[in-house]
Symmetry: D3
Subunit: 209 residues, 6 copies
């Protein structure tokens, strides 16, 4: 959407008139800034650059409207980082398995890198990107991904039997909520990314190989 | 999840030990309160009761954790109520068409009622619940729903051609973002509702028939 | 197809030359009367008006050819009303579950109303229209609908195992025939209705809510 | 269901107690005669034996209840033999293309033979059984089968565009009704046959090769 | 591709300039000879004519390039004729069940004939062409075909559970390799045949009826 | 299947009795050597080690039977390396797009690396693994992959229209054969790899990133 500018966090740089898409545009839509970035969100972007070395493109994509950006960031951070019976790695594993089912390039790239980083196991990231069934997982984690992928592919068919299978491998009802909420969230994000042809920061590709 | 209590907004009533689900429980999960309801969210619930006469069950379902509830409410209200090139009715139409594709009982009930109310056309609500293709829509609205349903059913196949079709019937790039974001959001909510067997307030069924 | 005429059972009123479809036309096809209505069928229409207050549109749609109408009526009445190990409500439940799988607007409307009426449970009608898996059914009725929906969605895969599952919840072989025949019939009717864009009488929408 | 008895048209021979299915039983259900065969239907069976040399097994399968048999025969004969803008061969072609989509052994066998007989072209029968797209058809007949197969596989998606395609190759609205009704009928019969594991008369296999 | 020439094995007869396809052309592609037939392959064709009375069209189709033909023949003969825990009939049964799933006219015709010949049971050939589930098979052969068809329809979902099911009915690990390799091979051949509209020798249709 | 042995090309090392699979076993089947490696194949393995630094696991998997190995190698090398109107990169692109549709871990890994190497464009490899539609391709290459993926997902639906689309972007009939043959081959290899849980050499993961 916007050009990444190495010098300063100028996330709202003006767009050229050209209709052809620049290679460095993040989404396939011309989105003029609807609202200026709030101080909180500007601070959050700065924090991203300090901690990660870059602002993830999905955040830049949402930055045309600070209310939308704030809502996305609040939900994302709660789901992926707040205390939960699921580890952060497990939440990233769900993100990748769901994104593989939906074939979402953005999320496979960004969260595939996260799985490699959190797990220290580059192969695990590849397995989840390509076909989560080839990963050698504990029964707990396999059940978790089976649930998330079924919920993605045929949501109408998830019933008490599916929840019982999770309980039998040790998940609490609260854990089941979290699995469902993370799987649901990436079914949303995958679709926003695919509908807008969102492109990930290229730095992800080399991370934690 | 929690019993609806007609007298006061006691959204965190204690749960019985019984494993069988009460008919008036909102979700099929036993979710103990993780955090107390914040003053903002308590005020929001009161406002719902004043304006709607009830608190929508989805909000009660999220109330076990006030951060999750806040994030959901912020995103929902921005998507469905903030200024947009799409009317509120059009956003509800997307909600129902997506929920029909996913066969989500909760969202079909709640947002089917909203379509009936906003449109003043009870048949339109039924059409979108059953098969949006039978609704007699403008080319603009039909294209909008075709996009949302394709994004739901085969998200990997949405490309520039699909975006171009929306532009040709008059949607701006910002509108395309909003269509995608609303369709994405209900792909999330449908899955959270289906995964937890969430039940809608019964009052929806009779509204605006 | 034909305008409903409140004064007399004139089911074969002449059609206008206009190619655009009238809002009160029952099907999207211009079907000139091929044969006049037989006295038996005329009497049947009168009986419908006396008992129901209207002639169901599907009958008017078939009325262009009295042999086709008679055959349809004979098969329909035998399947849905003749003695059977299935109650009339159960046969209507199959009708709605099958029609939901096929997303048939006509049959969901007409038979959704019938489920509401026979059961006295408006919610049951909504559940079957939206996703039969959310209805709280006996094991017998759930097995019956699972069979009917599988037979609808992947008929090639129905084998002895599926029949055995029905026998185990108490269905006789004759009952299995009836479940299959009703499910089969609505797979036919759904397709005739969808292929011709058949529209239900609007009166159904408000019945037994 | 019942043993074929070469000597006389004893279609209601008593069943053995054995639970295992005889090789010569027509369906996988034990269906005791619910009503005796009416004189009309007995005469019809005799006529079948005189004209065809045998009673088609589907008729024997329905014979346990003469009302069901009569209704089936009336609808079948009207659809397949009454005057229509479609030739009898074309109606049989639809039967086979639909039955191939549903993988119905009974109907592929019986109506595959009918296509070979009516067309005098054994290859045409094989093509329609295996993959109707390989048959070298006129544009009219190809469009007819495309419509019937789409109506079979995804009935919810048939709309005015599909009807227009038929009109453009010369079909009248009445013809479109007939194509839809025949395609619908075999979507019913395929499911009754598959649900009951109905077996065709072996004589069909060698006919018109 | 090339005209069958009754007098001599002239497999590389010159092509006419016409763009329309001759009825006796084997594939829908104009493939000029890239390499001459090697002496080995010429001898193999002669052997086919002596043993079968004709050269199978698939071999003529590959003959435009002798390296491709040799590779195909070597793999085919090893898979279908070399020693294996699977009988030759069982390998042909897999070929037909896979080809039915993919609806490949060429392979259904050629290998349907082979099943009829090897088994001496014409009905078995028809069952496998139409819907392998109707064939009355041993548990061993049914499991073998279930595996092959699942591997065809959803290869990503074949895991240790599927292999274990084969072992439980007596297949060795080597047999599982052979089942997989034969099923895989026909998933290749079906696609080459369908992509090129390959036509089988008409002689197959009448064989072993 | 066999342990990789760094010192010498001992591809037929004896297997332990343990039923549990070693992490370094290539397939999930215990395949005792059926035939010794021929001198030609032993030489080929040596050549692989010299040129690539390793023997691809798929070759070791086939090595239990030298006739099967030879046939596989002959077909593979002809398809992927012999002169063709398709570049070697284009053939690898087809391999990856097909393998992504089938979710084959082995082939995505090995041929994803090949695309990265041949193209010098690591992103192209990732795009084809994840969703080929996001790759920015020439019309020619996009049409080629659309054809290959359609042939993979619904082979029965590939007809003259699909071939015409390839001709319109410049492919010759011979090129169409090659596209079909390569796509077909990976539909075979994907299934053999998935059916046996074949594991790629780990070295691929880091190549040409």
């Amino acid at each position: 959407m916007r050009k990444s500018n190495k010098k300063r966090p100028n996330h709202l740089a003006k767009r050229r008139a050209a209709t052809a898409r620049d290679d460095d545009e993040i989404v396939a839509l011309k989105l003029p800034a609807a609202t200026p970035l709030s101080p909180e969100m500007a601070a959050y972007f700065t924090k991203c650059e300090e901690k990660l070395g870059f602002v993830p493109n999905v955040l830049k994509a949402y930055a045309f409207d600070t209310a939308k950006l704030s809502a996305f960031v609040a939900m994302y951070n709660d789901l992926m980082l707040a205390p939960s019976g699921l580890t952060k790695l497990e939440r990233e594993m769900i993100a990748v398995a769901v994104s593989s089912q939906n074939r979402c390039y953005y999320c496979l790239t960004a969260h595939g890198a996260a799985v490699r980083q959190y797990s220290g196991n580059p192969l695990l990231g590849e397995h989840l990107v390509m076909n989560y069934r080839v990963a050698r997982l504990s029964k707990r984690q396999r059940s978790m991904l089976d649930f998330a992928v079924k919920l993605t592919a045929s949501p109408w068919s998830v019933e008490e039997g599916e929840r019982e299978r999770l309980r039998r491998v040790g998940f609490s009802d609260r854990d089941i909520w979290d699995i469902s909420a993370v799987a649901g969230f990436f079914n949303m994000s995958n679709r926003v990314a695919l509908a807008t042809d969102m492109r990930p920061n290229t730095v992800y590709h080399g991370q934690a190989r």
